[in-house]
Each structure stands twice: as structure tokens, then as C-alpha cells.
Amino acid sequence: MPRVLINLPERATRGEIIEIKTLIQHPMETGYRLDSNGARIPRDIINRFACTYNGEEVFRVELFPAIAANPFIAFSTIATETGELVFTWTDDDGQTQTESRRITIE
């Protein structure tokens, strides 16, 4: 189970632009490296990250082998209503990691 760090404000005023920072532990193996025996290390990267806000997608990114290990993704959205932000990372094996955080609008 990869470790995840997410930073977003717990409270915001309606219409405010909030910054969301996410960091996930992942080797992001490019598929171009060789191991000590000269065998190719298979590619294993997170290729997709998405964030939904009360079910509506507000941010999505495709990732490629040039992204460093433990990808840090920061983005912003507009705080519209109290609810839940769901973050989903998908890797080459089709495994997904899902995290959610609540935000309260005052």
C-alpha cells in the first residue's frame, strides 16, 4: 500500500481558489533501466491521476516515464460547496490508490 500525503484546507469560503498538494510513494520505474544482470527492469509508473469534487472531475493528469519517483502533483480548484474530494492514482498494473478528504464551505 503506497503512502500518500495530501494537503488541502479543511475550511474555505465559497468561491475561494484552494490549492491542493498531493504526494504519493511510487518508484516510477521508466522501463529503460537495466538491472545488475543487464536485464531490463520492467516499466512501472503511475500513468493517471484524477481528482473529483463531489463526483465531478476537477483535475486529471496523464503521467509518462520522465516523471520522477514519488510524484508530487499540486493544482488548484474553486471551493464551491461542502463535500468530498476523491483522489485516484492508477498505475501500469491497473492498481488504483484512492484517498478522500472532506472540505467544509463557510
Binding site: 503512502r3 500525503l5 495530501i6 494537503n7 498538494k21 504526494l23 510513494q25 533501466r33 537495466l34 538491472d35 545488475s36 514519488n70 508530487f72 499540486a74
Partner: protein
């Protein structure tokens, strides 16, 4: 008398003697970091090191070895028991008769108290546990013991050489390992650098003259 060619080779070996720095004059490596690195370190949710700290937090409570003990079973809450511990390392271990660093201390705990296999150097688990323990000393000044044995140049030098060769991860990831080729783990280092001994070779090549004024090209190599 006229010399046609003159080649002079001078070998200057300098042993850099590390002068003690007064405690109040000591500065954290943070002060030397670039602005970007500092910003990353200041924000725990942007600092990838915190991933290992949280992993170490999980390992702290995980039972291991034949004794079936976790770190917490002996040490309790790390926040209280491990505060200031990392600041005291490296420390002199009387039983071993040599200085040990925090990773070695953790592995001694594993073999002696948990009766488990020591963790592999640079392994995720050892880095995570060390990171977690060291995190409890965050912001505290380094308070390494004034033990004369620890400060003995030979034992301190031995520790430094060992650390330099093995460590990579750290606040600035500036161990000696970056000089090794990552794709050739365990292979010969690309650059060998001794920790305290610098050898400067000055090679003077060219046509020598009677007055010795022009010695031609000069090549300097720092080894």
C-alpha cells in the same frame, strides 16, 4: 648549461585537519540548501522524506523477530522516548568498542532485543525507521557526546569512511553513493574520494630554460 626538456613532477599531499567548530558557530545543513530545497523541506506535505517517516511510524509498532517485540514494546511512545536521540548520534558503543551511527543502533536493537535479522543497508525499512526516529529530534541541535574515544581521530575517521561509502539518503542526499553508477549496483565507484586526504599532483611539462622561467603547460589533478 642548457637543458632541452624539463619535466617536473611535484606531489603535494595535504592532510586536511578538521578544526573543531564552536557549538554556537555550528550551522545546520538547511542553511546551505537552495531556496527551492528549503521550501520543499518546510512543507511536510511536499517533502518526500515524510513518506518514509510515516512508513517508519508503522514499523515502530510492528512486532519482529523471535522475541516478538516491536520497537514500541520496549521504547513506548517514540515522541517521548526518541526525542533528542538522533541528535546524540554517532555515539560510542562501549560493548563494541567503536562508534556507531543511528542505523547501526537500530540494527543492534533488532539483533539483540528483537532477535531478528538486521535490516539491509539502504533498505526501505531501515531508511524509514531511521527517518522516523530522527524526525523525533527535529529542530534540536546536534549534541554528540564529548567522549574522548568518540573524538579519537582514528575511530571517528573509520566511522566517517564507512558512512561516506554507504549512505545516500539524508537531508541532502549527499553521501558518497551518488558517485557510484546506479545502474551498476555494487560496482566500482566512478570517483574515489578519500574523506580527509587530498593529493594534489602538479605536472609541469614543457621546454626547460636556463633561467627556469618558462615551464610550459601546467596540469593539476586533485585526486
Amino acid at each position: 648549461m642548457r637543458r632541452l626538456f624539463g619535466v617536473a613532477l611535484a606531489l603535494v599531499a595535504t592532510i586536511a585537519v578538521a578544526a573543531e567548530i564552536a557549538p554556537e558557530a555550528r550551522r545546520s545543513g538547511y542553511g546551505f540548501a537552495s531556496a527551492e530545497t528549503r521550501v520543499m523541506q518546510d512543507d511536510d506535505t511536499a517533502n518526500p522524506g515524510m513518506l518514509w517517516v510515516s512508513q517508519g511510524e508503522g514499523l515502530w509498532t510492528k512486532k519482529a523477530g523471535a522475541a516478538g517485540l516491536s520497537c514500541r514494546d520496549c521504547h513506548g511512545d517514540a515522541q517521548a522516548s526518541m526525542s533528542n536521540v538522533a541528535a546524540r548520534y554517532p555515539a560510542f558503543d562501549a560493548a563494541l568498542g567503536r562508534p556507531i551511527d543511528l542505523e547501526q543502533r537500530i540494527n543492534l536493537c533488532r539483533t539483540e532485543h528483537q532477535r531478528a535479522e538486521p535490516l539491509t543497508w539502504e533498505s526501505e525499512d531501515l531508511l524509514a525507521l531511521t527517518g522516523f526516529v530522527a524526525h523525533q529530534s527535529r529542530g534540536l541541535p546536534i549534541a554528540v557526546d564529548d567522549n574522548p574515544e568518540l573524538n579519537d581521530r582514528s575511530t571517528r575517521g573509520a566511522l566517517r569512511i564507512r558512512r561516506a561509502g554507504r549512505r545516500r539518503a539524508g537531508a541532502l542526499s549527499d553521501g558518497a553513493r551518488p558517485w557510484h553508477d546506479d545502474r551498476n549496483p555494487g560496482g566500482a565507484p566512478l570517483i574515489k574520494r578519500g574523506p580527509v586526504l587530498f593529493v594534489r599532483v602538479v605536472v609541469l611539462i614543457g621546454e626547460g630554460r636556463d633561467d627556469g622561467a618558462d615551464l610550459g603547460d601546467r596540469v593539476m589533478l586533485d585526486l
